[in-house]
């Protein structure tokens, strides 16, 4: 499958990915190679990785989960690197989902003011979402990705073989980002994804998603205009995810599950503000509800979620900026929303 060249990086697929990795290692005289895993990827993905490579490396391990995507975990990895005499010519390979590649990328970008790193996303979400764009970072308290930098890995290896190690719920979570790529960029891709009934052979669709995201990011790397469209569903989705993460009585929502709800809510807003048709809203709502479980929100939940919106990174000058749909496949950015519309949107979702 053809490699996708990104801004000063590249995404390589399947068998070719490891060929490119081995080639990169052989032409760069790294002083030490570190591989970062969590307890899950250590068991399920590291054996596959070991089978494919011929170089020595030092294993570093963190604990999985969004609640560990924080500065304390960074301090642990920075100290591990220091204690193991990592220097500026060392390489960090991040083998894991988006939490691990986001955190590992930030750790590498800031260790001794920056060492090289390579991402090997092992979840569908990380393959289609975190693989291009160079976003690295960690959470600050419950606020997602508040701390980070934009910095490109040397390369990204997308090996769908790793998906066999995942539970179905994780695959659905990543699939939500692919559906988003259809909604913001291509109705044809949206229709194609809707026909997917199992996750047996996603290779081509993953490649399509990476292509879409890469095209958007290349045109607008610093998120002034078009890149903002990738945040569709994320403004409310992130706030919902944060709230469910913070509230110990709530079952934690996976990222894709939270933004699936965000995409329904923001599709409702789109019908009111940017002219999305009722039939498209129905299509979007039914597609997500058939794939993701419906969640109940109390009035108190909604109040907290709306209060979290003010920390959204896209805000400026006190305004909350939304990306909405004009049609399936076309968007409008920097839309301001009256607060009573949020209540209407949650009410629409509740009565679906």
């Amino acid at each position: 499958m053809e490699s996708i060249v990104t801004d000063s990086s590249a995404v390589h697929f399947n068998e070719q990915a490891f060929t490119e990795l081995l080639n990169h290692i052989s032409i760069n005289s790294y002083s030490k190679i570190f591989v970062l895993v969590d307890e899950n990827t250590k068991i399920h993905c590291l054996p596959i990785f070991k089978n494919m490579v011929n170089f020595e490396f030092i294993l570093l391990q963190i604990t999985s989960g969004e609640i560990h995507k924080n500065i304390e975990t960074c301090v642990k990895v920075w100290n591990d690197l220091s204690n193991l005499n990592a220097d500026r010519k060392s390489l960090l390979i991040n083998l894991g989902g988006g939490v691990l590649t986001d955190l590992g990328g930030f750790v590498a970008s800031t260790f001794k003011r920056g060492i090289n790193f390579i991402n090997i996303p092992t979840t569908l979400l990380a393959m289609v979402d975190a693989s291009v764009g160079g976003k690295t970072g960690v959470d600050l308290g419950v606020l997602k990705n508040q701390i980070g930098v934009i910095n490109q890995p040397q390369m990204v290896l997308v090996v769908p073989n790793f998906l066999k190690t995942l539970e179905e719920r994780q695959l659905h979570s990543g699939f939500a980002e692919m559906l988003k790529h259809g909604l913001i960029e291509s109705e044809a891709y949206w229709q194609e994804l809707k026909r997917v009934s199992d996750f047996e052979n996603l290779d081509k669709l993953i490649h399509d998603s990476v292509l879409i995201k890469n095209e958007v990011v290349l045109e607008d790397p610093t998120e002034q205009n078009r890149r903002k469209t990738l945040n569709y569903g994320h403004t409310l989705g992130h706030a919902i995810e944060s709230h469910f993460l913070e509230d110990e009585d709530k079952e934690t929502l996976l990222h894709g599950e939270a933004i699936a709800i965000g995409m329904i809510l923001e599709a409702y807003l789109s019908t009111v503000v940017t002219g999305l048709t009722q039939s498209s809203l129905k299509d979007i709502s039914e597609t997500f509800l058939s794939r993701y479980k419906k969640v109940s929100f109390t009035d108190n939940d909604i109040e907290i979620i709306l209060s979290l919106l003010k920390y959204d990174k896209k805000n400026s000058h006190g305004n909350i900026n939304f990306v909405l749909l004009k049609t399936i496949g076309d968007t409008q950015i920097d839309v301001k929303i009256d607060s009573e519309l949020f209540i209407e949107a949650f009410s629409y979702y509740k009565h679906l």
Copy 2:
């Protein structure tokens, strides 16, 4: 005094500095402006700053001192920014010495993946050393500047008027970096600095130092070659500084005091390895000993200091890379040193 244009930034001097700042503020529609101070600059420098500006700002405060230049302090400032609704269009102005501008620059570079910042160094050290090059960062334990990024401020304001707020010991600390600029780049500048008997009017000499550093950094921003020369005296100097910071029984050395010792020790190494003459060594030793107090090192101190060398950021592949002098004004980079020579150098220093 003429502004110095650096890599995607600029250093402005004296009265013109505030004109440039006010102009920058008026043409950028920042959502909020934050000013970061410590308890010293709040008392001594903030009143001067307030007198010169006409815009509203929100004050943020940290505790002064190298031991607070760490991730915990960053977390405090990140949280302050979050709680005060800073967004991506906010500006952070760092008003303080090198600890504050290094830390504030790192906080700004990583908050929501990067907001604009402006540095106003208030110490001589920060004016001549931290004002160009875009190095930001904090310490990890006792290891100096292990965590950071290279990122340029929007501008740097060098206002020697702030130096009137400093104690003489602080001025001497900064003066050591100026002497270093002479040693690595210009014998004429070194001779000129040796004639300085008080710190009443340093404006032109500060401008010269910034020019020297800027020329070096512009030619080699990523520290592959020439920029390494700025580390003269710092390999041993940093290790000495770290050890005296860590050991509670030792009086803390200021940065310039530690690298003054480092410059004598590395001048000794230079006579053995890179052909520095004995008379130059004598000149360097006498110049520093006449301005900086002599420190006693026990055998145990020396052992610890040498063990700290392995964490130096310039190391690669397990080698400790030194910058040494060929003559006063000319250097050689990437020099490896046999460990017995270190003992000789400390012995030379002891018997001065």
